[in-house]
Amino acid sequence: MANQEGMFMAPIPGMGLTAELGSTPWQHPPQYTTVDETLEFYAPRVLNPDTKDDLLNVMEMGIPLTTIAQALQIGGVMQGKHTIDVGVLVTPVIIEMLAYVGDEAGIEYNTGLEGGKDKDAISESEIGLALQKIPEVMERTEEKMVEEEPMEEPMEMEPEEAEPMGLMARRQ
């Protein structure tokens, strides 16, 4: 059923041609046309100390570096920063930069070339996220407890004897 709904949510053929040409950033000439320019765009963003913590959290959660790099470069394409072919070319360098950031912070990360991570293992960042959510969950639970009024006990009713309705029943 869920698959059927997903099927109907898909774009219809030709839907991509309904928007006006040039209405999206990637339909314009890219801002950076060479590999060097594109790398100069990404390097400060990956190595930025302000965003490094979020990046490290994502890496510690076990998201492969290849996936993060792919998301970054696809984002660049969508913003019209560079073309998709330049994005594919610079992806290995972005992955290497992410690995450098991970090594610098001394965390364990998955490059995306190894097998999957141990599913039973829980990383420190996952534990941290769960601990952050605990107060919210506690508040919600307390609110629910207050909203729910105690149920009144139903009165015990004596079952009435059903009068016989058949033809042979005695009338009183």
Binding site: A69, L89, T91, V93, E96, M97, A99
Partner: protein, 71 residues
Amino acid sequence: MSVYNASSLAYTKALKDLINRDKKPAQKTGGLLQRNMPKKVVEEKKNPEPYDSVLDALDQVRKQRKALLNG
């Protein structure tokens, strides 16, 4: 093929090409019919291919990373 596989493949290929780039071609052993050809003067490319720039950048970052790991 998954979209995310493309980046894995690109990374693997770049690493392989980077390692192979630094390797020198094996020298042929001298035989009876060996000819000593004059060495061609290798001209430095003025406009390197985009992929060469990628390999150079990858090499730089890898060296930095190795230096970091080695302390």
